[in-house]
Symmetry: C2
Subunit: 219 residues, 2 copies
């Protein structure tokens, strides 16, 4: 991927730092050894017509690489993975299994975890939130139990690190404000294993450094 | 894809008929002209150890094709699409755009729509449901407005029918119990256009016929 530029937010409140989804793309590029630049969009400018030409939903990340203009963290990570064996086996069975677990992370595990994040950190003082929370926690636990069973005796979702681990680990981080992951030892160990990788650390440091640089109080 | 077998539920209550996610896989196979068999799992047996070896989350669909054992409707539809130009352009820009819109359907549009379906049809009599509903409807409308803007002047998400339309149309069907889609004319027309396709009709009739065959009262 040539002339690769990731778009992230220029600043987010503390609760969102380290979980905004450009982290997934930065991490994938770090694992693949692809150089990249970062550009920023302000939280208030993200709904502008201009930005929506890059990202119709007004979200991040977006990726420009050569002539391509991509959005959706899952699509971008998968498309990066297709160009790097560091992220996805080249043979078709391993490739299919990687794709299955990418979708499992994003379409089955992420929705309840992301809902719990929003409930606790965005809607926490709304009347429905404490009433809804127990049932939603059960849904999260249901998913985490399956992920724990899958990881029993495995270091990663497949028999090696793949792009699916980038998506699953960043999904699991959505509930880092709770102790839910740590109650499933295989999930807890897996998350630490993923977060301990140098490419993850570089991606995270990059995201946090950008927010610090753009901190309004520091301006 | 040889010896292709889709797993669906043997029976579901009326509210879920026509939206259970094996429909996505049946539709993709119909569009691609691939013959397939169907096998069924009971709602009560879906959490068994035996079935979880096929589908770890105890959900449908799963797909067996030759030696591969796949799950996650998004992954299965994408992998079918990679073998059929009827579902995805072969050139890399069109392929990337298809994948971007598949993930947009499943990771950005589906979560709030699926939450609204669950709120109305599963949790409707819980105390939190009416309190949460207005905010959730706003989230759904936010997504539908973007899909409507994308479809303005287009028949499909790309400049031709692709696998992304299978995912987006089946996602939009999740809120068919409301009039939300019909308040966005481009979305309403798009959904009718997708549902009017013969392969969709065959897939839907197949799913409904299977439920009718397995109706407990008819046994």
């Amino acid at each position: 991927m040539e002339n690769c530029t990731v778009t992230g937010f220029d600043w987010v409140p503390p609760f969102a730092r380290g979980i905004v989804r450009d982290l997934r793309v930065r991490w994938a590029l770090e694992e693949a050894g692809v150089q990249y630049a970062v550009e920023w969009i302000g939280l208030s400018a993200r709904k502008s017509e201009d930005y929506r030409r890059k990202q119709p939903f007004g979200m991040v990340p977006a990726l420009a690489a050569g002539d391509s203009r991509l959005f959706e963290s899952g699509a971008i990570v998968q498309l990066i993975a297709e160009r790097s064996e560091a992220l996805m086996p080249a043979e078709s069975a391993g490739r299919a299994e990687t794709i299955v677990w990418i979708y499992a992370a994003l379409n089955t595990v992420e929705p309840p975890l992301d809902s719990l994040l929003a409930l606790d950190l965005v809607h926490g003082d709304e009347e429905w939130a404490p009433l809804r929370r127990p049932g939603l926690v059960e849904e999260v636990q249901d998913r985490l139990a399956v992920v724990a069973a899958r990881l029993e005796g495995r270091e990663f979702l497949l028999d090696r690190f793949t792009a699916a681990d980038i998506l699953m680990a960043t999904v699991l981080r959505l509930v880092r404000h709770t102790d839910l992951c740590s109650t499933y030892p295989p999930v807890d160990a897996y998350l630490r294993r993923c977060e301990g990788r140098e490419p993850f650390q570089r991606a995270l440091e990059g995201q946090l450094a950008d927010y610090a640089r753009n901190e309004p109080a520091a301006a």
